[in-house]
């Protein structure tokens, strides 16, 4: 390891923070000011969330699903038992109109999957991301039963050619990680990036705890819905126009 130039590093961090502030509202997809060093632990001051704008989400588009498959090394559903971390759902009105929404782990503040896990493998990280520690998971699948969103998958078959950033294998339960390996490096989830690339920009990622973040401002300004809000799980994924 070469010697770290602290002066230069400080300058880079300050510039990055300044860039995050300097961009006009509506242009930032996330807040650079949350940047965290690799040796710093995830902070409980942050709660990562997603806002899905259903008025922008297109029924024919599955860019988010494909991006998720590519990023995390998923098969894309070649067999019925293959893992699915995010899926598109079409809602058909009796009068004929079709609305579409992506459904994935809702990253609940009070996750039922964590409540039922007998080993502690299912856990919520300090910044609100709900994950499975595969080193501890015994594959009992209680969490799959407990999840009201059907968000989790079980890996039935041996896996080969995994992504170095996304280890996964037979015998464990898995679900959307909100691309935690990207978030830890100040990048946005792959689905959000892909959605923006299509021009639909139906997904907005940000810190729900920061009142100045774009996602918090949108949630304060427009009516948003939590799916199965009656369960009072306080989901981090919100839907606009549901």
């Amino acid at each position: 390891m070469s010697e770290v130039d602290h002066g230069r590093r400080k300058f880079l961090w300050e510039s990055a923070a300044l860039a995050g502030i300097a961009l006009a509202p509506g242009i930032t997809l996330y807040d650079l000011a949350h940047g965290r060093r690799p040796e710093a632990a995830a902070s409980g001051k942050v709660r990562w969330g997603l806002l899905v704008d259903m008025n922008r989400c297109q029924p024919a588009c599955d860019a988010c699903v494909r991006a998720c498959d590519t990023e995390n090394g998923l098969s894309g559903g070649k067999t019925v038992t293959d893992s699915q971390w995010i899926r598109k759902i079409d809602l058909t009105d009796p009068r004929g109109s079709v609305r579409s929404l992506p459904m994935m782990c809702q990253h609940c503040a009070d996750p039922p999957c964590v409540d039922v896990c007998p080993t502690g493998a299912s856990f919520k990280r300090a910044d609100g991301i709900v994950l499975v520690d595969r080193h501890i998971c015994i594959g009992c699948r209680y969490c799959m039963m407990a999840c009201p969103y059907g968000a989790r998958s079980f890996v039935f078959e041996p896996v080969a050619n995994q992504k170095p950033e996304v280890p996964r294998g037979k015998g464990c339960v898995e679900s959307c990680t909100l691309c935690v390996h990207r978030i830890d490096r100040d990048r946005i989830p792959a689905c959000v990036e892909a959605c923006a690339a299509t021009g639909h920009a139906a997904l907005l990622f940000g810190d729900l705890n920061d009142p100045q973040s774009e996602i918090s401002k949108r949630i304060a300004a427009v009516a948003t819905t939590q799916v199965r809000a009656d369960l009072r799980l306080d989901t981090a994924v919100r839907y606009q126009g549901l």
């Binding site: 390891m1 690799p38 040796e39 710093a40 632990a41 995830a42 856990f123 990280r125 300090a126 910044d127 994950l131 520690d133 595969r134 080193h135 041996p158 896996v159 050619n161 995994q162 992504k163 170095p164 950033e165 280890p167 996964r168 294998g169 037979k170 464990c172 935690v180 390996h181 978030i183 830890d184 490096r185 100040d186 990048r187």
Partner: protein
Amino acid sequence: MAGVPGGACTRRTALFAAALVIALAAAVGAQAAPGAPTRVPLPSIEAGAGERCVEDTAFMRRNHMELLRHQRDVTVHEGIRTTRHSLANCVTCHAGRKTGRVTGERGFCQGCHSYAGIALDCFECHADKPAPPMAEVTR
């Protein structure tokens, strides 16, 4: 009478000296030919790309599993992604120059684990080859 014990002693000393000379010659011979077969079979490991490990070799032989276990917990639960003791960093350096992997008969990890008779579970989930350069994280 006086000469008998002294003669035996001299003979014993001569035998010991001869044995020592033979042993030394054998040791020098063994050192002179490092590739020569030894009585104990050793694992044959394919050379990796890295030049120097992040810690001393002797320390790593005994403690690499503890470093990896600690790193895995802080990475999964706290999101700490330092690379020094990460499995991905190990794989990047130790992947075989020809095979590009740490598994396989002569792979750096599997070769030694097979030799020692220790189960190697890491690569049922983790990638056993480095990330392609294209996947290099861009900030």
